[in-house]
């Protein structure tokens, strides 16, 4: 299935011409390439673009989860009750893939504890809670000259910025820039497609902040040393296109308008759309000389270097079943309901909130969750807005899902394998190439929750892989231990033999024997003494070990079974190692006999 190019060109050219007319600019746009599949969900973007990007008053408290990005959890550098300034480091990046977290405003840290976070699991995780002092006092800001500064220093400093991919992937940005100073990357693609319905944060950013955005693009361009820059934007945002066309007028940045088609905003799909190049499935785009950044990410980079501002806030679309849908610049950690109040509250029939778009988003587990770096959009959901899931019918193999899949997968086959827990086969059918865009479920006549099956299968495969890895390590450690025990045994035997062979062998052997016995009894005595001590201490402290009282009968029974099992096991082990044991014993016996002979001979002589 060769993806043909140029076919969409005609349609786009009309749109392009219209845009050129609007902006009064003449920009040559090369061909836009075709995407396999894709769907056209209703945009629902107009609702939240009526009002400009709003500001929120400071909330009562800010709850900052440590897990806001992909990778390691950052290390906390502050303590409870500490007063912090706006922009102060709260937690520093730990390990290679990690991102720092900063105080979004000045205030006091009132809690460092588990709280519910915006995660599909609904499980609580570690968070830092700040009570703002209302002064919003900045820490000293360190600006950097991104036009002339040393590239390595600039890139290295991003580790302190806390900037992550703001398109939703939240991959720490320093990783994407690191080591690229030497420029194997020739093309920078700026992702402004924003293909998911309802989400308009990038659209509004381009409309209102296109000047800064272009500077941000230039920051990224300098850092990775790319010669070409292409901005990919969907044709359903004419105002944003006009703004960005104007702002890029005197630059070498090329703006490519792509037809509205979900999921063209997926990085690999976008690269193919604007450059006609497929990034191989097992490579990162940088390995073929292409790097992709979201518009909000490069803007954050610019603000970090130009003004010394770390990543403290983002634009969030607050839309759906609310009274005045709008985009807001929201501090990280802002409670969800604070944002909901700003749009004149959710309508009465709101059932819950969704983070992300209607195609890939997830239900927020509670109204208590904070806004995080990944939160590009919050949708208030109601049963009328999003109809409840209908019971799934059997798959009728109509292959509409395969026609819609932007990766050319066979969703109906993957579903079959995932449903049967046949993960090996699912991987043969390229399960991990699935981007979970939801296009397949969107067109499924049987209303099968296909994506959920793939998520489940992926989750299981990852867990199985981890278990396998752990088992491999355990095997290695067990092998090592057995080898060590064997070595120790042989060393003991050798020592024994050597000792026995020495002069005054009989005496020495006798003495050694009694000594050994002595040590054994000594040890036992020491242990009983220690037990007594521990018991005494326990009695004194009132500290009782959990497993003697709380679960006495059950535990005791269990211990008994384990004991017998162990005894049996050791017996079998002895049987198994009997051969080697026997040999060692024989050798020892021979040595003993020799020694005795020698001793007897000596005695005779004496």
């Amino acid at each position: 299935m060769e993806v043909s190019s140029h076919t969409n060109q005609a349609g786009n050219e009309t749109i392009m011409n219209a845009i050129i007319d609007i902006s009064g600019l003449v920009k040559k746009s090369k061909a836009i390439f075709n995407l396999h599949g894709g769907v056209h969900p209703p945009g629902n973007k107009a609702q939240s673009t009526q009002l400009p990007i709003g500001e929120l008053p400071l909330p009562e408290k800010l709850v900052l989860p440590l897990r806001q990005h992909i990778g390691n959890i950052p290390k906390i550098t502050v303590s409870i009750n500490q007063h912090v300034l706006k922009g102060q480091l709260l937690a520093e990046a730990e390990g290679t893939v990690s991102a720092a977290i900063h105080a979004p405003t000045s205030g006091t840290i009132i809690a460092i504890e588990d709280a519910v976070i915006p995660h599909p699991s609904g499980l609580p995780d570690q968070c830092i809670t700040i009570k703002p002092d209302g002064k919003d006092t900045w820490i000293e800001r360190k600006t950097q000259d991104w036009r002339k500064g040393n590239l390595n220093d600039l890139v290295a400093s991003i580790r302190l910025s806390g900037i992550v991919g703001l398109g939703g992937a939240t991959f720490p940005t320093q990783i994407k820039l690191r080591g690229n100073g030497k420029s194997e990357v020739h093309t920078l693609v700026i992702n402004a497609a924003e293909c998911e319905p309802y989400i308009t944060c990038d659209d509004m950013l381009m409309r209102e902040r296109s000047e800064q955005l272009v500077l941000g693009i230039q920051v990224a361009q300098r850092l990775i040393g790319a010669q070409n820059v292409v901005v990919g934007v969907e044709d359903n945002k004419p105002e944003a296109i006009a703004a960005i066309q104007t702002a890029t007028a005197n630059t070498n940045i090329e703006v490519k308008v792509i037809p509205t088609l979900y999921p063209s905003g997926d990085a690999r799909r976008l690269v193919h759309l604007v450059l006609g190049q497929e990034v191989p499935h097992d490579k990162r785009s940088t390995q073929v000389g292409i790097q992709v950044f979201n518009v909000a990410t490069v803007l954050a980079l610019y603000r970090y270097f130009e003004f010394g501002e770390p990543s403290l806030s983002r634009i969030v679309s607050m839309t759906g079943n609310v009274n005045r849908p709008q985009n807001f610049e929201v501090l990280f950690g802002t409670p969800l309901m604070h944002l909901v109040k700003a749009v004149g509250d959710a309508k009465d029939d709101t059932s819950h909130y969704i983070m992300g778009g209607p195609m890939m988003g997830f239900d927020l587990p509670s109204e208590e969750v904070p806004i995080t770096k990944a939160a590009n959009c919050i949708i208030a959901a109601s049963p009328t807005l999003f109809e409840p899931a209908t019971p799934a019918m059997p798959c009728i193999r109509c292959a509409r899902c395969a026609d819609a899949c932007p990766v050319s997968l066979q969703p109906q086959e993957l579903y079959w394998f995932a449903k049967a827990d046949n993960f090996e086969k699912a991987q043969d059918y390229k399960l991990f190439d699935c981007i979970e865009c939801g296009a397949c479920s969107y067109v499924c006549p049987s209303a099968i929750p296909l994506v959920q099956y793939y998520r489940y299968a992926k989750s299981e495969v990852i867990a199985l892989d981890k278990a396998q890895e752990a088992a491999d390590i355990a095997r290695e450690r067990n092998d090592f231990r057995l080898a060590r025990l064997e070595r120790e045994k042989q060393e003991r035997a050798a020592k024994h033999a050597a000792r026995a062979q020495g002069a005054k062998a009989a005496q020495a052997a006798k003495a050694a024997g009694s000594q050994e016995g002595q040590t054994v009894t000594d040890k036992q005595a020491a242990i009983t003494a220690a037990i007594e001590r521990a018991k005494a201490q326990k009695a004194a402290d009132g500290a009782v070990p959990k497993n003697t009282t709380a679960t006495s009968t059950a535990t005791k029974a269990e211990i008994k079974t384990i004991d017998t099992r162990r005894a049996a096991a050791t017996k079998d082990a002895n049987k198994l190692t009997a051969d080697t044991d026997k040999q060692a014993k024989i050798q020892a016996a021979i040595a003993r006999a020799k020694a005795q002979k020698a001793a007897a001979l000596k005695a005779k002589k004496g």
Partner: protein, 339 residues
């Protein structure tokens, strides 16, 4: 609770199946107009049998009855079988055929979505093998029949197998074009003289060609509604046309023209309604081409060299067996992977 995507833009299974039924209506109307209302009686019996057996089996299998009865898939099976067998066959013939199709070929395999074979074609094959005489006794189109039976007379014939006084069996039946071709060619008749017979029309059988044209119209409606893709009908009809043309060009005295092959028998019904059954067919675009082409080849071979005048049913069943293999070997290239 997480079930993104939260939105959907898919017609339901019922909706799709209902449109398939809708697309069959033009063909049925023309059929009834040309051959009399008897076909409507057969359709009613078939529908009732399908719904009853489907409900019974669902109940026995402890599956919800209502959602599966209203998906209309059983009715499609019933209608396809009813349209495939001779319209004046005794009532119990269609009952046996539909019951076998639904109970054995569909429900015993797990019901909707799980049947490896096209149920209607299994039903047809069973009837053809079990009752070959009844299955080849086709009524003549009213325009060429010696005696035109009224609706009541057709009704009586279906239920009690009695003809009005003085009417012989031969007066109401006629060979089908494909059947006639086969027998006459065996008798060493020339193609020209065969095709001059009254039962041939412009492009196919007299009368029957209008029905096939109505099927074509219904098929185009399904294609326009994006319920079927072009792959299956084009590959199937294209293959039949190509092979028939080849043979015909080589020896037009022994082999009939491609037009006869396209517009006679079950060609067009199969192209748009039978081989397009998604459940028992392949899912990949390339696989659909191979599948349909295979059916085309086998159909032609059975028509020309086999023992039966038409071969769609056996060709479909044979290719159904090959579907897993076809699907496995026609996987499209995944984005970012080499071939």
């Amino acid at each position: 609770m997480n079930r993104s995507p939260y939105i959907s833009n898919a017609p339901s299974v019922s909706n799709i199946m209902f449109k398939v039924l809708l697309a069959l209506i033009p063909g049925i109307v023309v059929y009834a107009w040309l051959f009399g209302g008897g076909i409507l009686i057969t359709l009613v019996i078939a529908t009732a049998t399908a719904l009853l057996t489907e409900a019974l089996m669902l109940r026995l299998r402890r599956r919800p009855v209502q959602p599966f009865l209203t998906d209309y898939s059983a009715i499609i099976t019933a209608w396809l079988l009813a349209l495939a067998i001779p319209p004046l066959a005794p009532w119990w013939l269609i009952v046996i055929g539909v019951a076998f199709a639904i109970i054995i070929a569909k429900q015993l395999y797990g019901g909707l979505g799980y049947n490896p074979f096209n149920p209607a074609m299994i039903g047809y094959a069973v009837l053809l093998i079990s009752f070959p005489l009844l299955m080849t006794k086709w009524p003549a189109a009213l325009s060429i029949a010696q005696t035109k039976l009224s609706f009541i007379e057709q009704f009586n014939f279906i239920f009690s197998h009695t003809l009005p006084a003085g009417v012989t069996m031969d007066a109401v039946t006629s060979a089908t074009p494909l059947d006639y071709l086969k027998t006459q060619l065996k008798l060493n008749q020339s193609m020209d003289s065969i095709q001059a017979a009254s039962l041939f029309g412009v492009v196919g059988g007299k009368g029957t060609e209008y029905i096939t044209l109505a099927y074509l119209a219904g098929g185009l409606f399904l294609w326009q509604q994006k319920i079927i893709t072009w792959h299956l009908p084009v590959a199937f009809l294209g293959t039949i046309a190509a092979i028939a043309s080849l043979f015909w060009l080589v020896d037009s005295s022994q082999f009939s023209s491609p037009l006869i092959h396209l517009f006679s028998g079950a060609s067009l019904l199969a192209a748009f309604f039978i081989i397009t059954d998604p459940v028992s067919g392949p899912t990949t675009p390339k696989g659909k081409l191979y599948f349909a082409a295979g059916i085309g080849v086998i159909t032609y071979l059975i028509r020309v060299y086999g023992g039966y005048p038409d071969g769609v049913a056996f060709a479909v069943i044979f290719m159904n067996i090959c579907v897993p293999l076809i699907d496995t070997y026609t996987q499209p290239r995944v984005f970012g992977h080499k071939e």
